[in-house]
């Protein structure tokens, strides 16, 4: 526990800074909530007159969408390392007596705590009013979802450092890298449209990509619409591969970093 204290302090600082500096935070959650309500309505329109499409029932689809929004930050984890590289803050990170991965991950978790308390929990509580059943398919699904979520975070953080290394290599724009990363993740992960609903068998191809190990896999486990063993195995393999790649790429490129500011 003592070992964890330093990470806890970083997370708590990050969480508290959001409360202190962003007093209009509630507005962004109102906007997000509105988005969820509209998305749920759109699925109902699409499924009108059809109870099952591509093996997905409308109930499972609504639960999928709701849980995706509840765990949106965990399913598409962002450390914001590219912004630290953009504003020069990365230089200060190298001076701190903690590894970069643990610093950025702790901060990320701190941000989650805030969003989880003020958006995710209230959304879960009002889900029956929205006509959505928020419970997992079974107790086992809930447990395996937790494990899958941990693997999602491992895959996501690995991708973050790979993109950061590419950003250094290409001397590109942090803004552009962040946008491309988000756009690809949203499309290929099944976060917005479940892979099973994609035409031309695209979903069957996408499910083997690392992005699908971020949103699609845990959500399919939660809703009982995928084989947990296969999904967890794919996630574990991607987590291992991406971490090896991230470590290598980062070691090669971090020496090329030139920073000013922060």
């Amino acid at each position: 526990m003592k070992q964890l204290r330093k990470y806890w302090i970083i997370a708590a600082l990050e969480s508290a800074s959001m409360v202190g500096e962003d007093s209009l935070f509630i507005i962004q959650f109102v906007f997000r909530f509105l988005r969820v309500v509209v998305l749920l309505s759109i699925w109902r329109v699409l499924f009108a007159g059809q109870s099952v499409v591509s093996g997905l029932t409308v109930e499972a689809l609504l639960t999928y969408t709701l849980i995706q929004e509840v765990f949106a930050e965990q399913l598409l984890p962002r450390t914001d390392i590219e912004w630290a590289m953009h504003d020069g803050g990365i230089a200060m990170r190298f001076l701190q007596p903690l590894s970069l991965v643990s610093q950025f991950t702790s901060q990320m978790v701190g941000r989650w705590a805030f969003g989880f308390a003020f958006f995710s929990l209230p959304l879960l509580l009002v889900s029956p009013v929205l006509g959505v059943h928020p419970a997992p398919a079974s107790l086992a699904s809930a447990g395996l979802f937790g494990l899958s979520l941990l693997l999602t975070i491992a895959v996501g953080v690995g991708l973050e450092f790979i993109f950061a290394a590419l950003l250094t290599h290409l001397e590109g724009s942090a803004y552009m890298v962040a946008r491309v990363r988000t756009a690809l993740s949203l499309l290929l992960s099944g976060a917005v449209v479940p892979l099973a609903l994609m035409p031309w068998g695209l979903g069957e191809v996408f499910q083997w990509l690392p992005f699908a190990s971020m949103a699609s896999a845990p959500l399919r486990i939660y809703t009982g619409t995928g084989d947990p063993l296969t999904l967890l195995t794919i996630q574990a393999v991607w987590a291992a591969v991406l971490w090896v790649a991230a470590r290598w790429l980062w070691q090669v490129h971090r020496e090329k970093l030139v920073s000013y500011g922060g």
Binding site: E21, L24, F25, Q28, S41, G172, R179, A183, V192
Partner: protein, 285 residues
Amino acid sequence: MGAVPKMKTLTRLLRLWRMYAWLDFMWITRSAQQSLLYFTGDAIVNLAALTSTLLLAERFDGIGPWSKFQIIFMLGYAATATGLLDIFCGYNVLFIGRRLGRGQFDHTLIQPQPLWMALLTDGFNPFGASSAFLTGLALTVWAGGHLALSPTSGWLALFGLNLIASAGIVLAVSFFWGSFAFFAPRAAEEINTPLLHMFDHLKLFPLDGLGLGMAGGLLTVVPVGFVAWYPCRALLGLDPASYAVLLTPCAALLFGGLAIWMFRKGLRHYERVGSNRYRDMGHRG
């Protein structure tokens, strides 16, 4: 205003747009590698944004009462409207809360032109931000061909008017909310981000079937329905009301008026208290 001052204003606007276009051109062509990366990245972002809805339209052969090509037309329209904003309101003119919240508004105020002219011109970046506009235009024309539209000059004029109105509504809502940064610079610095993200996300779906209350809310409180859904309904003849094609331009006037009122209110506050967040090294300095 007489004819000569009007011409002078127009000439000045054109000169400023030309100057900012040149600066943008110089920026985008500073390095072949960076240009390639930038355009590739921008193309990926814009296509990915539209792809989810395109895939759904293909999978379900349309969405609700909209056929597949009507959806594509709507997506093209949405991207073109967004593209207009990207081209004319770059450099955080659209995200005005950032300029205000970071104490950068003085940079705009000291320009040797009226405030409206500075805001209308200094975000002009036609080369770096043309991707969404061109993608949208191509999709609209393609879908229009499949829908067997036979546009008259009157229809094209209404299309253009609605397009400008849709972009104007997004800008107006952004300025309305962004003006909170005059009063709470730190808290409202990023207020435009979740707002515009929500717009970006919801503009891609037809809002039929949402129920009167929800659809009404999305045309009034948060008028995302005017970004593409409602004007496209009108332009494609899905709304039988004869006034439908004029509703978006009228709404643009209303939301524009609200935004100007809110912005002026904030500006008066700013004239009294200024900003304590200005840093000569920039906001990330």
